[in-house]
Each structure stands twice: as C-alpha cells, then as structure tokens.
C-alpha cells in the first residue's frame, strides 16, 4: 500500500494491477471540509470496494458535490485522508486524474460542439481514441450515434446524459464518478441510465454515484446516506431498509390532512408522515390493534384502511435524521 502510494506511472502501473485487487477503490478517513463558517463535510469515513456501484444518497446541500470534488482531486479536504485507487488524493493527483472518469452535476460538455466532436475531444485529451475504447461505450453511445452530427446543446436531456457518460468513459477509467446524473431527467431515461450502469459491471469499473432520490438506492450495491455533511449509514440497500427499527403502518383515508392531524393527536402514535398516497405511521407500542380504527372512527374518519408495510430507504433516512437531529414531529 505504501509502495503504491508513491504512484507508479506508465507500464509499471498496470503490471501491479494484481496487487490492486486487495486495495479498496476508495478509502476515506475523517474527511472534513469547511466553506467559511459552514461545515460542508464533517468527519466523513467510508470505503468503496473495487468494481462496486456505490451510491451517496442525500438531499441537496448534504455535501455530496463537495465530497465528489474531493474524490476527483478538485478540492482539498481540510482534514482527513483519502486514498483513491491506492494513491493519495492530495499528493498524487496528477496520476489519479488519468484514471478517473468524472461527470459533474450539471451538463458539462461543449454545447457548441457536435456529439462526435465532444467525444473525440475527450478521447484526445486523455491520450486515447474513440476506436480504441469503443467497445466500452458502444452500448451507451449506440443510442446517440445516429445523431452524432448534432450539436450537444440541441440534444434532449436523456441524450445529453448518455453523451456525458460516454465522454466520461472514453479513456476507460478505473473509477467512474457520477454526480447526480439523473437529476432533471425523466423517469424513463433515468431507468435506462441505471440499466446502462449495470452493464458496466463486467468491465470492473468502480462506480460512485450520488442522487437525491431515495428510490434509486436499490440500484446500487451499497449506499451511504448523507445529510448535513455527515454520513448517517452505510450498507446495502436491503440492510438499510431492514435497519428501520419499528413496525411501519400505512393509513389511508380520503381526507389526508384531517387524517394526519387526527393521528398526531393520538398519544399512541409515535410518528405520522405523509408518504405517497398514504400516511406512514409508527406506534409507541409497536403493535396494531383495533383501538386505532376505533379512535379514527370516533374522530369522524370512518373510511380508514390500516396495513402493515415494509419500510423504504426514505423511511429509514427519516428515522436516522430524527435520531441525528433529535427532532420528532409530535406537536
């Protein structure tokens, strides 16, 4: 590990690939970053295994972009150490940048260049050619190839995203960093995008991706929930969901607002939040009996339907946030 930290350029670099199998793709310990008085990142530690799809899930302003800029060597952390592909992110940034594919949060290609010109440009900048690595991007690029003469600025949201991904992949990076790739893209294109990432697995590329959309967590091997610059939890999506500490019930009624207010008045209710077409409820004694139906009926809600439900990532996130903030929504 120490030896690899020296950063070995050129061929030696690849000859030592076998050693890399034991190395984590990213190892971060105690990363903190401040902008003025605001703590953007607070003691972030995590590790990403080689060839896994690792998701950072959290709302806007949680610190995802700052963290990604540190990973891409664009920012220096105030504290902590980060080792990426076995190299130190601060001292060895030149070597690292050759091995990283990065797709920033907003569309960062040249709008006045055509699809083809953008791709060729990024290939040359990384000292390769489109032909050389065509296989890697063919799945993605084939969708937009019919439009290769079109200016990038004139593409639809979904196509821009595919082009950006092709450009980030063209030099066959070992680590692909995607900052909110699905923000602002419609549901169909989002789903396609995740399918494409899935197909990249066979090339052993490590992928880290951020998203504010909790429902995308299930597409990752492992996720870190991040909020206010802190990591709330790191695990597989299934285990994160299973971490929800109580039984969760959904309550439905035609008059949702009245239902929420009525539920909150009941001391037996621990939390009551709207979620989709129902209200997600946890109970103090964690068991459902008829008393809740009776209570609701007595308050004039006769049409309530209560069912036990499986908690989602968002429910768990909420629970962790409350623990972190000490907030409850009981008035």
């Amino acid at each position: 590990m120490a030896l690899l930290n020296q950063g070995c350029p050129g061929k030696r670099f690849f000859q030592q690939k076998n050693n890399y199998q034991m190395v984590k793709a990213i190892e971060s310990s105690g990363i903190s970053k401040k902008f003025g008085p605001t703590k953007a990142l607070d003691n972030i530690s995590f590790s990403v295994n080689e060839s896994e799809v690792f998701g950072f899930i959290g709302p806007d302003g949680a610190g995802k972009t700052t963290l990604f800029r540190i990973i891409t060597t664009l920012l220096l952390p105030d504290e902590g150490k980060m080792s990426i592909l076995g190299m130190d992110s601060t001292t060895n940034y030149k070597e690292l940048r050759k091995n990283i594919g990065y797709m920033p949060g907003r569309f960062s290609l040249y709008q006045d260049l055509s699809v083809e010109e953008n791709l060729n440009f990024f290939a040359t900048v990384f000292g390769t050619s489109v032909e050389e690595n065509y296989e890697l991007i063919s799945d993605i690029y084939s969708h937009i190839e019919p439009f290769k003469k079109r200016l990038a600025g004139k593409l639809s949201g979904g196509m821009k995203q595919k082009l950006a991904l092709s450009c980030a992949l063209i030099h066959k990076p070992r680590l692909l960093i995607l900052d909110e790739p699905t923000t602002g893209v419609d549901a169909v294109s989002r789903s396609e995008f995740w399918d494409m990432l899935g197909k990249l697995r066979k090339y052993n590329i490590t992928i880290i991706v951020s998203t504010p959309y909790m429902d995308e967590a299930i597409r990752c091997d492992r996720v870190a929930l991040i909020q206010n610059g802190k990591i709330l939890s790191i695990d597989t999506p299934q285990k994160i969901k299973a971490g929800f500490s109580r039984k969760l019930f959904t309550v439905k009624s035609a008059e949702k607002y009245k239902l929420i207010k009525t539920l909150r008045k009941n001391p037996e209710i621990l939390t009551a939040y709207p979620f989709g077409d129902s209200i997600h409820v946890t109970l103090n004694n964690n068991t459902l009996d008829n008393s809740l139906y009776e209570y609701l009926a007595s308050e004039g809600i006769g049409d309530a339907i209560i069912m036990e439900a499986e908690a989602g990532i968002e429910d768990r996130f909420l629970e962790l946030m409350e623990k972190d903030n000490g907030i409850t929504n009981k008035a």
Binding site: G158, T183, D186, A187, V188, Y213, D215
Partner: protein, 242 residues
C-alpha cells in the same frame, strides 16, 4: 368535490407545424391535488403556460378559475399562484420584504398583508427568521416559504413545478403536509413534475406523452390498471420517450 376549476376541451396548441398540445381534454376540481406528469418535451410546459394565462391556445375551450384563456388572461393571473423549484423568492430580500412584495404585487391591502405575515410566520414557526435574508435560509425553509407566498393571496389554483425535487425527506413530508392543508382549504393544487414519487402524493394524475394525455386517473387505479407497484412503473410502461 365536483366544483370544476379548470376545464379543458379539445385544447390544441401549435407552434408553426409543431403540435405541442394535441387535443387535450381534462377537468380539475376544487381542492384537488392534480399531478401533471410527462417526460421532458411531452408538452407539459406549453399547457401550464396556457392555463396560467401566459400563452393563448390555438383552438379548443380552456376555462381557468371561471375565466376564459383567450381573452380573460389578466383575471386568470389574479386567481392563480405559482411556485417553481428554481426561482421563487428574491434571495437578497428578507423574509418579511418578500412577503410584503408579493402581497403588493397581488394588490392586497396593507392591513391584510400585515395580518397574513403574522399568521404565516406563526404557522411556519418562522418568527426568528422574519428579518433574515432568503439566501441565509436552509433550502427546506425557503421551499416552504415560497409555497406559502404562492398562496398568500388565496388563489383558486396554485401551480407547483417540481416542488420537492432534491429536498430532504423531513422537509419533503412537511411540504406535502402544507400542500394537503392548502387543498383542504379548497385551493386546487396543480403539480407538474417528472419525479414519479411526487406523483404518488396526488389525488389524481395525468400522464402526457407526445402532446397527448395518455392516462388520467387516481394513482391507485393506474397502478391496478397497468399491474404496477409504483407510478414510476406505470409511467415507464406507457410513456416511452420521444
């Protein structure tokens, strides 16, 4: 629930030879939370512009809050509120200044603005923020305030464009609570989004594709009809991108 506040019959909007809205017909009722979904470029924005009096239909009947979308656009504008994720409040003004500004824009009296300001700050537990710049507020608070400002003048309909994109789960749920509260007061909430999880919260949703409405029902019925677990699955089944 059957007071119609938006009624659209055979709406067509063309830009040259391009048909952005192709014979749309739908109704929205008072106090309803109506989700207006569609892929990028499906024609949602065109419809919203017509419904909010910013653009005139090519043909068809459109009535919003009792006014005609051809020649009563000024009355329409007075009776609707609008909030979008990107722009809503002036960042270099304080909370109070923003509220006074918007109240003034909608022609509310000074005393009424004062009254609503106090109510609003109390309701949002916002008192300590009264004289803070919007730019100093966390995103979640801004979003809640923006919504409250959009309904400050008690419009008949409020249009929300991707209202909870990117906010944290707590804020999002609080936000939807205030939407429910607003709807329970009889204000119609018209939500456009391409995030399907936002659609799940709506009373009814319509899905637009290629200028046409291809589905319109409650989320529950649509999920049943298309044998899907989520609205997102429904959407992927019927709205292939252009």
């Amino acid at each position: 629930m059957n007071n119609t506040v938006i009624s659209v019959h055979n709406l067509v909007k063309k830009f040259g030879s391009f048909v952005a809205n192709d014979n749309l017909s739908f109704e929205v009722y008072a106090g309803e939370i109506f989700g207006f979904l569609g892929a990028n470029g499906a024609g949602k924005t065109t419809t919203i512009r017509i419904l909010s009096g910013l653009s005139k239909p090519t043909s068809g009947e459109v009535n919003v809050a009792g006014f005609d979308a051809y020649d009563q656009t000024e009355q329409i504008k007075k009776n609707i509120g609008y909030m979008c994720q990107k722009f809503s409040l002036y960042e270099d003004l304080t909370v109070k200044e923003n509220i006074i500004l918007y109240g003034g824009i909608y022609g509310m009296s000074r005393s009424l603005i004062r009254k609503r300001l106090i109510e609003l700050l109390a309701k949002l537990r916002f008192q300590e923020y009264e004289n803070r710049m919007i730019s100093d507020l966390p995103l979640g608070l801004r979003q809640k305030l923006a919504f409250s400002v959009a309904v400050l003048h008690e419009p008949k309909i409020v249009f929300l464009d991707e209202p909870t994109g990117g906010v944290d789960p707590i804020t999002r749920r609080q936000f939807w609570e205030s939407i429910y509260e607003t709807a329970s007061r009889g204000i119609t909430v018209f939500v456009t989004t391409h995030y399907m999880d936002e659609a799940e919260y709506c009373d009814r949703i319509s899905i637009m594709n290629d200028g046409k409405i291809v589905a319109l029902d409650t989320p529950e019925n649509l999920k049943k009809q298309y044998n899907a677990g989520t609205v997102e699955e429904v959407f992927i089944k019927i709205a292939r991108p252009v």
